[in-house]
């Protein structure tokens, strides 16, 4: 399947464009921009709206709304005098569940919520009221974890993309956020509204200049600076650009359009649309760690039955430095071998890889978890996460050899539990190497040297 993000949006969270756009010309322009963005979504082939809302904080990892039809009346904590917003939303609960599972597979703490009366946050209500007023397109809403930083936020997007690709969805990714978020701390008349300070305004305009040039990853990499400069510290980091950029493969050559930029009670409110078409200015080097799995401070209660990325549980044979023989190809970005052999060997126009598993270079951890603990007790594990990690390791070795995944011509796969794992393995294959089209043989075997469930033997063109 070829799922993708067909459009990305940055929109403000305040209720004014819904409840009283007529009270201020700028608020009306924001409302008009929302309407323009809605038309653009309707004219696209989007079949899903994904909202990352900075107005829904969470503590226990990330939460994803899974109630198929949340209904209630929303009243803003500050602007309650502007009125109430009745909402009845159409949520893609199956996508929400799949995203949650993908988060867990990548090591994140995550859960779905589906409770009558759950208070959908003002930002999400405003977004869906204005961008999807008739619920024509199903939506999914995700919280912002108050403690999460860049790695978790980036992985949150990658797991979302896993599901989009697996399901072949055409998604609109929406970050609900203010730019500068400093509001006036006293009541003002609508006609007196302006950006709170010249400094905030200058930063906002610089951010919008970048976005209008499609330089989303530039803004993402400025997130910590932006947080320091123009964000009231309501959460521990300014995260929505990390998420949105990762939803766009950290690209910096999108086609951007700023539909509106106005103050709402002093905060910077912008409606921005980013299309995936390259604007032709060229991409940039991605200069931060490209994290794939979360292995941070998540198991503080020592209560998890599912061990993910836990090196101490990966009992197995000793590790070796790869052999530096004639025509050998070895990569520091690939896991160490469990014997005296190289990662790969070049012979003529062909590259022969030693068997590649999912272990991670450096910490030897196993994405998706090991299949058993050091006492030999079987554990639950995620075959999809393991298979993806195998493919990633293959790509790293091929890259070291000057080749790439699209030059793979033959693969022999080994599974330790064909009945349990073939389907998941096959799904990841279809999304990755299956797109390239090498020949393939899949064998069931009794065991592999480390507690992993899948290994691949690869031949590729140089």
């Amino acid at each position: 399947m070829n799922g993708e993000v067909v459009k990305s949006l940055i929109i403000p969270a305040h209720p004014h464009p819904v409840l009283c756009p007529e009270k201020n010309e700028g608020w009306q322009r924001v409302r008009d921009a929302f309407d323009d963005a809605r038309r653009q979504i309707e004219e696209s082939d989007a079949d899903l709206i994904i909202i990352y809302s900075t107005l829904w904080p969470s503590v226990i990892g990330h939460q994803i709304q899974a109630d198929p039809n949340p209904e209630w009346v929303m009243v803003d904590a500050d602007f309650h005098d502007l009125g109430s917003i009745h909402y009845s939303l159409r949520i893609d609960s199956e996508f929400a569940k799949s995203w949650n599972e993908a988060n867990i597979a990548r090591g994140l703490e995550s859960r779905t919520v589906a409770y009558d009366g759950f208070p959908i946050d003002v930002g999400s209500v405003v977004a869906l009221k204005l961008l999807n007023p008739y619920n024509r397109i199903p939506a999914v809403i995700c919280s912002t974890n108050v403690y999460s930083n860049r790695a978790e936020t980036t992985i949150l997007a990658k797991s979302c993309m896993d599901v989009i690709k697996a399901q072949g969805r055409k998604a609109v990714a929406v970050s609900v956020m203010s730019l500068s978020n400093r509001m006036f701390t006293e009541e003002i008349k609508p006609e007196e509204d302006r950006i709170h300070s010249l400094k905030d305004d200058e930063w906002n305009r610089k951010i919008l200049e970048f976005l209008s040039e499609g330089r989303l990853e530039d803004v993402s990499q400025l997130s910590r600076t932006i947080h320091d400069q123009i964000r009231v510290k309501k959460v521990v980091a300014f995260k929505p650009m990390w998420w949105l950029s990762a939803m766009n493969a950290n690209r910096n050559d999108l086609t951007g359009s700023v539909l509106a930029y106005e103050p709402i009670h002093g905060a910077g409110a912008a409606v921005v649309v980013l299309d995936p078409e390259s604007n032709g200015t060229g991409d940039k080097e991605y200069d931060e760690d490209d994290v794939e799995y979360y292995g941070g401070d998540r198991d503080v209660l020592d209560s998890s039955s599912k061990v993910i990325n836990n090196e101490s549980n990966n009992a197995g044979p000793d590790l070796f430095d790869p052999v530096e023989g004639e025509n050998a190809v070895n990569s520091e970005k690939a896991p160490k071998p469990v014997g005296a052999y190289p990662h790969a060997r070049r012979e003529g126009d062909l590259i022969y890889l030693s068997g590649v598993g999912p272990r991670q270079p450096g910490d030897n951890s196993i994405p998706g978890g090991p299949i058993k603990d050091s006492d030999g007790n079987m554990l639950d594990y995620d075959i999809k996460a393991q298979t993806r990690a195998v493919v990633d390791n293959i790509a790293r070795i091929l890259e070291e050899a000057g080749s790439s995944l699209d030059k793979v011509i033959d693969v022999t796969s080994f599974l330790v539990d064909m009945d349990r794992d073939f389907q998941g393995y096959n799904e990841v294959w279809a999304d990755t190497l299956g797109q390239v089209g090498p020949t393939r043989t899949t064998l069931a075997i009794r065991a592999l040297p480390t507690p992993i469930a899948v290994e691949m033997k690869v031949i590729a063109r140089a």
Partner: protein, 297 residues
């Protein structure tokens, strides 16, 4: 008309786990208990207040967060369901409560006279925040007293702890003056935890007490220091140390409720009674009572 008075001030933390563990009929989830040390602390507080005559509960909760001044609920009857957006698995609470709008308006007016940004909340669709509901339920589960619900102005986010405290000290003085002029007997509640660093994972079941503890030794030291100062009646020192406490313990006192409470009681030198201390998902929580009714004028 006799002068109104504050009969007691309470520090009454609001993690929804406490109501969840009590299994009241208003709450939908069902638990096997848990957090007994704190719930028994609330039991001791209720016992202490059992024979105390008062008319209204005045509460400031950090979970009604406002950025444009301090707000007061101005709707006489509030009835709805509150679902905690952070712990919806624990708290889905059906409530039906009365607001003392007259006293709320009086505090609002007094604060406005003293230069504060304030607003009455008159939207009938507004849902009362879960912090207010949890603290009020644990202090007075009969729900037979009207309340005054005051928002937490997040001035710390915009400025500093010092500015937050200046504003909350003024709000406390305005509250005390309005209560005195009202002729009513009031119980004051500051609804907040002390140290406020959460675990980011949850046990299964959530009430598995074998995993409950403070998140770090530093948090414990800060909590004990603050409790000791309360027990010694050193309110001014608490206020003086609040900036360090808020920063180093990520304390929920950053919402202003505790400073407001101390100010409304006149920054007392009298000791507080410790009814209980315990952790909830790693945060530190103390149940304290200042028995103002027993102090000589």
């Amino acid at each position: 008309m006799a002068k109104g008075e504050i009969v007691a001030g309470c520090l009454a933390p609001h993690p929804p786990h406490l109501v969840y563990a009590e299994n009241p009929q208003q709450n939908e989830p069902v638990s096997e208990g848990g957090w007994e040390q704190l719930r028994w602390g609330y039991e001791r507080l209720r016992k202490s207040l059992e024979d105390v005559d008062y008319d209204v509960i005045v509460i400031l909760s950090p979970h009604w967060q406002t950025y444009i001044g301090t707000h007061f609920v101005g709707v006489e009857k509030c009835s709805s369901k509150s679902v905690d957006p952070v712990f919806p698995n624990l708290f889905r609470f059906n409530y039906d409560l009365d607001i003392d709008v007259e006293l709320a308006q009086a505090i609002h007016d007094k604060a406005e006279e003293n230069g504060m940004a304030v607003k009455m909340m008159k939207n009938p669709d507004f849902r009362v925040d879960y912090g207010t509901l949890v603290s009020c339920h644990m202090v007075r589960p009969e729900w037979d007293k009207p309340i005054v619900s005051i928002s937490s102005n997040r001035s710390l986010s915009y400025y500093s702890v010092e500015v937050m405290q200046e504003m909350m000290l003024e709000l406390g003085r305005s509250t005390a003056k309005a209560i005195e002029e009202s002729g009513k007997k009031c119980l004051l509640i500051a609804s907040n935890s002390l140290s406020h660093r959460h675990f980011v994972t949850e046990t299964n079941p959530p009430e598995d007490m074998s995993k409950e503890h403070i998140t770090s030794h530093a948090m414990h030291l800060w909590d004990m220091r603050m409790i000791e100062l309360m027990r010694e009646g050193k309110s001014q020192q608490i206020i003086d140390e609040m900036p360090e406490f808020c920063e180093q313990a990520i304390a929920e006192t950053d919402g202003g409720a505790f400073t407001w409470l101390l100010s409304a009681m006149g920054v007392p030198n009298e000791p507080a009674i410790l009814h209980g201390y315990g952790t909830i998902i790693g945060t530190g929580n103390a149940i304290m009572e200042w028995p103002v009714r027993n102090w000589s004028a």
